[in-house]
């Protein structure tokens, strides 16, 4: 493994894995405890529409992606809070709508065959330096916002009605949280792909949930798990000559599944 470190691509991959794990660890904890895995998946997929817009307008897809995913996060948030449409249905719809827009726009864009697979599955081995800086910036933003709003987010995730009664705007806080999720997703899409993002968001956070009842500690643990798994997955992908993103997920889920087999498949509640 060590001799691999002489390669830039490997150093970048490791940096990307660490930075991604930090963002995912912090935001993932909220995603897991507030049970908005699905909405995160929705934002991720809807953001595909932004990629389509980027291609269609001939600009850097990132400039389509960022506004579009923030917008879809806000729309999902508003739709699920303000209307009588069941939240998960609203998400399912925006999810597919974003994807459909992306596909159609990409189809209509002359002269471009997008590497769809990269967006779906990512490629952590070819992360350019510029993306690393972007991720650093994102991590800084996330850490700052979460530090500032730690108590508020905790109340929001625990009991929205109470948050309102406390004089806070639960809706604004929720939208802020969704926007953080959207940002995380945008910056990670190129690196790890839509599919891996969901894994990175949920698995480390959910694993850490088993070890503590404290929100803050969960975040630290989730980051540690994320870094550990992604580096291990990277190494395994080298050993077995397999795609890195997928191997990271595989490593993570295997540990997760083993962990909870050990922790007891025995039903607590009889069926």
């Amino acid at each position: 493994m060590l001799e691999l470190l002489q390669y830039d691509f490997m150093r970048n991959a490791i940096l990307a894995a660490i930075l991604a794990s930090i963002a995912c660890g912090i935001i993932g904890v909220y995603v897991v405890v507030k049970k908005i895995v699905f909405i995160s998946g929705g934002i991720t997929h809807a953001s595909f529409g932004g990629i389509g817009i980027g291609y269609y307008l001939g600009i850097n897809p990132l400039f389509g992606l960022i506004p579009f995913s923030l917008l879809s996060a806000i729309i999902m948030g508003l739709v699920s809070k303000r209307t009588k449409v069941a939240e998960d249905t609203a998400i399912g719809i925006l999810w597919s709508l974003g994807m459909a827009i992306g596909i159609i726009l990409i189809y209509w864009t002359p002269g471009y065959a997008p590497d769809l697979m990269t967006y779906l599955f990512g490629n952590i081995l070819t992360v350019p330096m510029s993306d690393i800086y972007l991720m650093l910036g994102l991590d800084a933003v996330i850490i700052f916002v979460v530090y500032a709003y730690y108590k508020q987010f905790m109340a929001l995730c625990f009991d929205e009605e109470f948050t309102k009664v406390s004089g806070l705007s639960a809706e604004k806080l929720y939208l802020l949280l969704l926007c953080l999720i959207a940002l995380t997703i945008v910056l990670l899409i190129k690196v790890v792909g839509i599919i891996l993002i969901i894994a990175l968001l949920t698995m480390p956070a959910s694993l850490s949930r088993h070890y503590t009842n404290n929100l803050g500690k969960m975040m630290y643990l989730a980051i540690i798990f994320g870094v550990f798994f992604s580096l291990a997955g990277l190494y395994l992908s080298y050993v077995f000559d397999a795609p890195s993103g997928a191997t990271i997920i595989l490593a993570m889920s295997t540990v997760y599944i083993l962990h909870f087999l050990y922790d007891g498949l025995k039903p607590k509640i009889a069926s």
Partner: protein, 289 residues
């Protein structure tokens, strides 16, 4: 790339000309060079789309259902694998010709795997390891043109003479192109060039140079692949990575950063076959190591 024109040809069809379906843009050029205005060509994979993943639209299918003839590349490009049965169902009278008839398909250049090369070689299916990009070499195109000519003659025997004349003229052009490229690449035999998508295997084979591919069969490189590619590039002094125009260059750029090189666009699917290939050859000449 000439933008909208070909998508227009796909949609409006006037009844008196013969409709010929083809899979990719270079084939459109071949057919048009032979048949001139006698035929109307419908291309399955429009400019910029990826022949490895494209799915046709209803209007293309309706246009193709009126076609007299379909010239498939025949070397196993994905869109044909998925669509040919369908097209036969759709239009049983359509004459289907296989442009690759008479061309020997070569193995896809595998990534250099040191040591564990032949581990699961046995599992390889027959055609799957073969390189479908036959049209990137002018000598293959001569055969393709011949096949197309035969097909056109069989669906439209009345115009055989025109077709023959046109075909011969085009073959001559192709010959000239071949020589021109030989000249361009003079003295570079044995050199290597690096491409992201390995579309240039036949070209490389024909001119005695080596294609080093980053991505293989639509699959992103693994860590070992990356390691090998970079080592090889450094050994050979490769400083240019060629990417297919229009495709994302991010990954290629990351590798270019690593080897201190640059990314150059070349297009294996341009309609304007002859000029394009000459340009490509010049680009390769500069990038060869």
């Amino acid at each position: 790339v000439d933008e909208q024109s070909s998508s227009e040809t796909t949609s409006d069809s006037n009844d008196n000309s013969i409709i010929v379906g083809v899979s990719i843009l270079p084939q459109q050029e071949f057919v048009e060079k032979i048949a001139g205005d006698n035929v109307e060509v419908v291309v399955m994979v429009p400019p910029g789309a990826d022949p490895h993943s494209y799915e046709p639209t209803p209007s293309q299918l309706t246009a193709l259902s009126k076609a007299k003839m379909y010239a498939m590349v025949g070397s196993g490009i994905t869109v044909e694998d998925t669509m040919m049965d369908k097209l036969e169902d759709l239009n049983p009278d359509m004459q289907i010709i296989d442009c690759s008839e008479g061309i020997t398909l070569i193995e896809m250049e595998a990534h250099v795997h040191e040591g564990e090369e032949e581990t699961d070689e046995e599992d390889h299916e027959e055609e799957s390891g073969l390189d479908p990009h036959i049209w990137t070499s002018p000598d293959n195109v001569e055969i393709m043109v011949e096949n197309i000519y035969q097909g056109l003659v069989s669906v439209d025997p009345d115009n055989q003479e025109t077709y023959l004349e046109n075909k011969n003229a085009y073959l001559a052009e192709l010959n000239e192109l071949d020589e021109q490229i030989q000249n361009t690449l003079e003295g570079k035999e044995g050199g290597s060039f690096m491409v992201y998508h390995p579309a240039w295997g036949y070209f490389a084979n024909h001119y005695g140079i080596t294609q080093v591919a980053v991505e293989i069969e639509g699959k992103e490189p693994s860590v070992q692949d990356m390691q090998n590619i970079i080592d090889e590039a450094n050994e050979e002094g490769i400083k240019v990575i060629f990417v297919q125009s229009g495709f994302s260059t991010v990954s290629a750029e990351a590798i270019a950063d690593e080897i201190g090189g640059e990314v150059v666009e070349v297009d294996p699917l341009a309609k304007d076959y002859i000029d394009n290939l000459a340009k490509v050859a010049e680009a390769f000449e500069k990038g060869l190591a």
